[in-house]
Symmetry: C2
Subunit: 421 residues, 2 copies
């Protein structure tokens, strides 16, 4: 019996440790990254008594007894602009300050410029202001030593704003997981290179590179390996010495499934699981999901290795189900959420598959003013006739849980899209 | 009267052209980018007759009359693995082929390895297979010349998979918008550098750099400019010669609002709008949103320029409302969607502000088993006492439309988070 999707995911998440290492990045480039350490305010914010407005700084004590009939006149000193170091306030004086300017020593209130009356070179105060009015005291916004964020906090724009305000030019964040990606197959040629007869373009390393980077990983090696053990040793090499935190391969998984099913495997290749078993350990082989049945997961040394089936559609499904959560765990990120497009009535019946969660591409189609999710079914397996065109025609996918029986036409279903980008 | 949020957004979107230029990127790095041209299948997929399974290739004509009692025996030729160029099928012969292998000339059906009976060096066929069974004909998946995607299609993982399968090593995509970012203010110092008395760290260029890059832009210049026209000329320089597609400044917008309101502006700086008016044109100044009232938008030469208010919270709000949609338009991307966290009852009454859409930070708080959105209110303006700490305490924000009156405690409200990261 293959493992259920849920059991495979649990196996992956319990096997894979959070990456313990961290690195410094400029705060401006830390969006979406994860704090390695707890953050505590290193300074008071504001760091100095600061005007909250454009206005006139003065000492409330100098304004006692001021009335509209008998204003107090305070001679104006030199203006203080933001960034300037102010001279102390002369006795009985006032000073124009801009928003954000440091208050002159001796000032304890600010009168709004819109409400101030200036006569000649003096401010006319017609009632004593409230002490502390329109100014911020040091530490009034955030006090030095205040707890900000726990280790493991994912940084959004508000976090970036707070940490930059407090003077952080760099942040210590969890290192991105490093990933090696290999497509296996003698027939494969990189897209962009010309094909000889019988060759095909390697779609999977391209998908995986894009998907790994979108999921926060860094690709350390990637490319095509032929179906021969000496060259496949590069997979083991990518695991050695902690060079990669994860290795993902595609292809070379079908034969083992046949073997597991007791079928003849005359001349068939079963190379990646074979390498895994030989150089490391297979933790599971075979998952209850269609497409993606032959998916295998293991370890070479400490490094987790996924062996994904070679069909690009299976790569999309199994990356999303197992590899993306694994990357999130390695990078200290929350597990990725599904991206739901909406809920639509099913256009045609879809058959469940006992023991397997089934992923079915759908096209959204207008029928009499209502949008239906119309399944795009490949010919019954084993056939690969629509292997790419079903992605081309699809607007998203639905899935039927392993326990679910058929779903009938008209039944409402949730439609999802693959995340990333 | 300031422009409404909606009118300002329309002004921005009608002023800003889609970036007409494109660039080539490797297909593996094109996720989230936008196709510059329509894409049409350049080749047949598959390119050659291909086995869909592991099995035995043969000619149906050679199997006529086969029955379980009187099987036809087909001598086996050399195996054909994927990627190998097969020799033509000998008359009355069969050949083992792997999934994805090119069929030998002369073969028109494949028998599944699980169902095949091999005796000695011959395949025993006990009933004639269906012509075309378990194989794909050239172009059967996608035919050369088939329309794939229109120009302007945003590339997700399925699009990447399809284009890589068809051999695209690079794609022509819309160039990323180039953005110059300037914080203005004599008091500003980059985070990480030490502060002299009266100086503060420049939060806004850090927020903007992170936000611009998350929105698909490339930052060409960024940094701090003092409040003096000679140095502010760098803003105009960043607009010259098409170096930038967009310029975003923060700070230096308050004085003009006072002037617009008919207040005295003795000694106040109004530098960025002043520069805009002098070197280009102000298209609008003042928007019906709190925070962000003084937001200005204009052009220097052909280059759009945003002058955002200097409060980091206002930068977050106005970036999200106006700059992010502007970047999407420039880059040919769909307008960014709001990121809704959920719907929660309001913890306390919130007052609307006539003529202004009001953004209010909220904290999600458990009260008797239910989560409430509790407003985090700064002291009444003009004060900046909680300018950063309100972001620190918030889990998200709500907003009240300009026409909305107060919302009472217990009323359900939608809570959002700032996108990016």
């Amino acid at each position: 019996m293959p493992l259920s999707v849920q059991a495979m995911l649990e196996l992956v998440l319990t096997t894979v440790p959070r990456c313990g290492e961290s690195e410094k990045v400029p705060t401006s480039q830390a969006l979406g990254r994860v704090l390695a350490d707890r953050a505590v305010a290193p300074v008071d914010l504001p760091a100095f008594p600061r005007s909250a407005v454009d206005g006139y700084a003065l000492s409330v004590a100098d304004c006692q007894g001021a009335t509209p009939e008998q204003p107090v006149f305070l001679p104006l000193g030199a203006k203080v602009l933001a960034g300037q170091l102010p001279a102390p306030l002369g006795p009985g004086g006032a000073t124009f300050v801009t928003t954000g300017a440091m208050l002159p020593p001796g000032a304890d209130a600010v009168i709004l410029v819109e409400r101030a009356q200036v006569q000649g070179n003096a401010l006319a105060v017609s009632e004593p202001p409230r002490p502390g009015q329109h100014l911020s005291r040091p530490g009034e916004d955030i006090r030095r030593g205040r707890f900000l964020f726990p280790a493991g906090r994912r940084l959004g724009l508000p976090e970036i704003a707070i940490l930059a305000s407090l003077g952080y030019g760099e942040l210590e964040v969890i290192r991105r997981p490093r990933v090696a990606i290999f497509s296996t197959g003698d027939e494969l040629v990189s897209p962009g290179a010309p094909l000889a007869p019988a060759q095909v373009h390697d779609t999977n390393s391209v998908i995986l590179r894009a998907a790994v980077e979108a999921a926060g990983g860094v690709v350390t090696r990637w490319g095509i390996l032929p179906d021969r053990y000496p060259e496949l040793a590069e997979i083991a090499a990518a695991c050695a010495g902690g060079e990669s935190d994860l290795v993902v391969t595609t292809g070379g998984t079908g034969a083992s499934m046949l073997a597991l099913a007791g079928s003849p495997v005359d001349g068939l290749h079963d190379l990646v699981p074979g390498l895994l078993a030989g150089s490391g350990v297979i933790l599971n082989q075979g998952v209850g999901v269609v497409p993606g049945k032959p998916t295998a997961f293991g370890r070479i040394g400490p490094t987790p290795v996924f062996a994904l089936a070679g069909w690009p559609y299976a790569v999309l499904v199994t990356f999303h189900l197992f590899v993306a959560p694994c990357l999130a765990r390695l990078g200290g990120l929350p597990l990725p959420a599904e991206r739901r497009l909406g809920r639509f009535p099913l256009g045609e019946e879809v058959k469940g598959e006992a023991g397997f969660r089934r992923y079915v591409q759908v096209r959204l189609e207008d029928r009499g003013g209502e949008r239906f999710a119309v399944p795009i079914l490949p010919p019954p397996p084993p056939s690969a006739a629509r292997s790419i065109s079903l992605l081309l025609e699809a607007d998203g996918y639905i899935y039927l849980e392993a326990g679910e029986t058929d779903r009938s036409a008209g039944e409402p279903v949730d439609v999802y899209v693959f995340p990333g980008g």
